[in-house]
């Protein structure tokens, strides 16, 4: 009986325990469900999501820049940020000693940075360190880690980290620096193509949430590289022209200079040399070479009085309207009065009877002032406007100067300007503007837009650029006639600009520089604009030297420099002499 009672009692106890256990289990389950569906649960989930995912911006690799033959002019290279992850630091002293020793930094400065991290978890010690420099430090860190692991102790260089990033690199250093520009460490293109096409080169950064939890692996979003650019520049010609310009600076004692080589058929700029030039891999030395931003690429940014090269535009306007022909006689008395102001020739003497070729050949101011006044102000300025004078050309390089052409109605325009503008005084242009305007004469009346972009490569596909003509300021017949006149005038005076084997057309320009409001005859800008071969122009060259000291005349300085550049150009562009070319053209 007693045994039965005990069994019964155990039975009850078992039942109670059996009932309580599920009760507790159910209570826990209910609590779990309650927590899951409670209003706070959403907040907790949001909080956990914040830690589970991290928002990252993926920057595309900056597009490269090539010359017209595919030579790399601007690429990218890996550089590193060397820093220390503070929670992992074992020995500040060892870290400071090794980092400063290998990277050539000041020990005390490095030590202080690590000792006082100001709450930073990762303390950057050096930025933009190139791979070669950190190689020895990396080796040292690996060696120390191995030794420490063998001795079962943490490495004294624990915490040392190298974060790679891409930096712009210019394999040709200063070559074509004025055209390329540079990409600084604030991720911004400066000058030239780097600035003009910054958005294309940079590509589009992509932002994405990246899970920290490997269970939730997500793809890195596809980030296409920035667009690569192919320039119209010919690297070999650019180097040759830069060499000739540097030599001319020494030979003629000029302060600075510019040479542009362009294809007058389509406006492709094949070389554009200026002085001084910046080594783009050391762009932070910019201030050592340049005081003003326009000095970086004077070929497009420097505006000045062009002088006699401007006469080709005046002559073009006269021929195009029909008021003159190449044979129109003109008696040069040595002076002309325009707007009550006496205008004289460059040598202050009369040249007697001339025709229009003579006017060009002897660069007579009086003759050209006569043409402009005969045209009248409306017609003359209408033609200058058609030639794009006083407006930017739209060349695809950053920092182009607009130039200045005073026109009737402007507060600072005087009647004498009609006379002086005819021979390039009282008007401001940039070298590239002169190129664009004169291209109409070389290119059968059609004016081209100068440009440096040949094509673009994006996602493996290349798109080449075809520029439309910028206008037709003069008739085809006018362009042909004027080209012949310019060629004849060079031949008549046996100019130093002539190129053996090639018939070229061109015009010199010697412009006195205004100093304190007066023209200083001892300081000049000398220039030459020319193109060839005359019957099939394939190159157009503009030479400009600032304040040559050996001679103030363009005939002695700019003209022979033009010839030197043209001789290099025909070799490097594979342009055969006229006789061979004409022979090849025969059926």
């Amino acid at each position: 009986m007693k045994e039965f009672s005990m069994r019964r009692e155990y039975g009850w106890r078992s039942l109670v325990v059996a009932a309580l256990l599920p009760f507790f289990a159910l209570t826990i389950l209910a609590q779990m469900i309650r927590i899951q569906v409670s209003p706070e649960a959403a907040d907790f989930r949001d909080q956990s999501d914040n830690f589970a995912m991290v928002k990252r911006t993926f920057y595309p690799e900056r597009g490269e820049i090539y010359d017209r033959h595919g030579h790399l002019l601007a690429g990218n290279e890996t550089v590193y940020t060397v820093g220390v992850n503070m929670p992992d630091v074992v020995s500040v002293d060892t870290l400071a000693r090794d980092i400063s020793g290998h990277l050539g930094l000041d020990y005390q400065e490095t030590y202080d940075k690590l000792l006082n991290p100001y709450g930073l978890v990762f303390v950057p010690i050096a930025n933009f360190v190139d791979g070669e420099k950190i190689a020895s430090l990396k080796d040292a860190a690996e060696q120390t880690a191995k030794t420490s692991a063998a001795e079962f102790r943490p490495s004294p260089l624990s915490g040392l980290e190298f974060h790679p990033t891409l930096q712009r690199s210019y394999p040709e250093n200063a070559l074509a620096a004025n055209i390329i520009g540079f990409f600084n460490r604030n991720q911004r293109g400066n000058f030239g193509v780097e600035e003009k096409y910054n958005d294309l080169l940079a590509g589009t950064p992509v932002e994405a949430w990246v899970p920290q939890d490997p269970n939730r692996a997500a793809e890195i979003p596809y980030v296409p590289n920035g667009t690569s650019l192919i320039l119209t520049i010919d690297r070999d010609l650019q180097a040759a022209v830069e060499g000739l310009l540097d030599q001319a600076m020494t030979d003629y004692g000029a302060q600075n200079g510019t040479i542009i080589v362009m294809n007058p058929r389509n406006g492709e700029i094949m070389a554009m040399a200026t002085t001084p030039r910046l080594n783009l891999n050391e762009f932070w030395t910019y201030g050592d070479s340049f005081d003003q931003s326009y000095e970086f690429n004077p070929a497009i940014s420097m505006q000045y009085e062009p002088g006699s090269v401007f006469k080709v535009l005046t002559m073009a306007a006269g021929l195009d309207t029909g008021i003159i022909t190449p044979n129109t006689p003109f008696y040069d008395s040595g002076s002309i009065i325009v707007g009550d102001v006496l205008i004289q020739n460059w040598d202050r003497r009369p040249w007697g009877p001339q025709d229009m070729i003579g006017c060009l050949q002897h660069s007579l101011n009086v003759c050209h002032a006569w043409i402009s006044t005969t045209l009248g102000k409306e017609t003359f300025y209408d033609y200058m406007n058609r030639f794009g004078i006083g407006r930017p050309t739209g060349v695809d390089l950053a920092g182009e100067a607009p130039g200045r052409l005073k026109v009737p109605g402007d507060a600072d325009w005087y009647p004498v300007d009609l006379g002086t503008n005819a021979f390039g005084q009282g008007v401001a242009v940039s070298p590239i503007q002169m190129m664009m305007a004169a291209s109409a004469i070389a290119n059968g009346g059609y004016m081209v837009t100068p440009h440096v972009l040949y094509g673009m490569v994006s996602e493996g596909r290349q798109i080449n650029i075809n520029m439309e003509p910028a206008g037709m300021p003069i008739r085809m017949e006018t362009a042909y006639t004027l080209s012949q006149m310019l060629a004849i005038s060079l031949e008549n005076e046996a100019s130093l600009a002539l190129v053996p084997g090639y018939r070229v057309a061109g015009k010199t320009g010697t412009a006195e520089i205004p100093v304190n409001g007066y023209y200083d005859s001892s300081q000049t800008n000398v220039s030459f604009i020319g193109w060839g071969p005359v019957d099939d122009p394939q190159f157009m060259i503009y030479v400009w030297l600032n304040r040559p000291s050996v001679s103030i005349w363009a005939n002695d300085t700019a003209a022979p420099l033009f010839s030197d550049v043209a001789q290099q150009t025909v070799i490097l562009l594979n342009i055969p002499p006229d006789s061979i070319r004409q022979q090849a053209a025969q059926p």
Binding site: Y66, R68, G75, E77, P164, N215, A217
Partner: protein, 158 residues
Amino acid sequence: MINVLHLTHAYRQAPWRIQRQWTGAFLVGALILAMISALYLDVTAQAAILGREIQYLQADTIEVQHANADLQTRLATLLSKSNMDARARALGYRPSEQGEIHYVIVRGYSHASGVNLAAVNPPVSVTVTPPEYTQSLLDWIADYLSTPAAGLAANTVP
């Protein structure tokens, strides 16, 4: 009455047999649960391993891109105008001058102009990985429960 009771006793299963059936059912349930758990654990572990591998591969991809950029720039530096000029001069060459060049007329010849940097095989458009390859089982169940019709709609043939 006694006969009925005897009959019931005769057809009633023995208590140890009932216990064994319950135990067996419980064990089968536990086994199924263990199998599902093991399967889920396996899938999760594999997803975690693959996820980590993807992260490593992504890091490798970036490293390779950097290495490519480095090599390209280094090659360009080695082939730069100044380096090539110096090498050519060291080998005894010099730039040719006018009068030293002989032109040969070849009828019908036209030299190629401009460079073509287009890739031989342009990259195809990037396909998006279906969620089945990226989401966990719980994610999939949650998605399915939130939009139960989506799965059916996806298989609907209009």
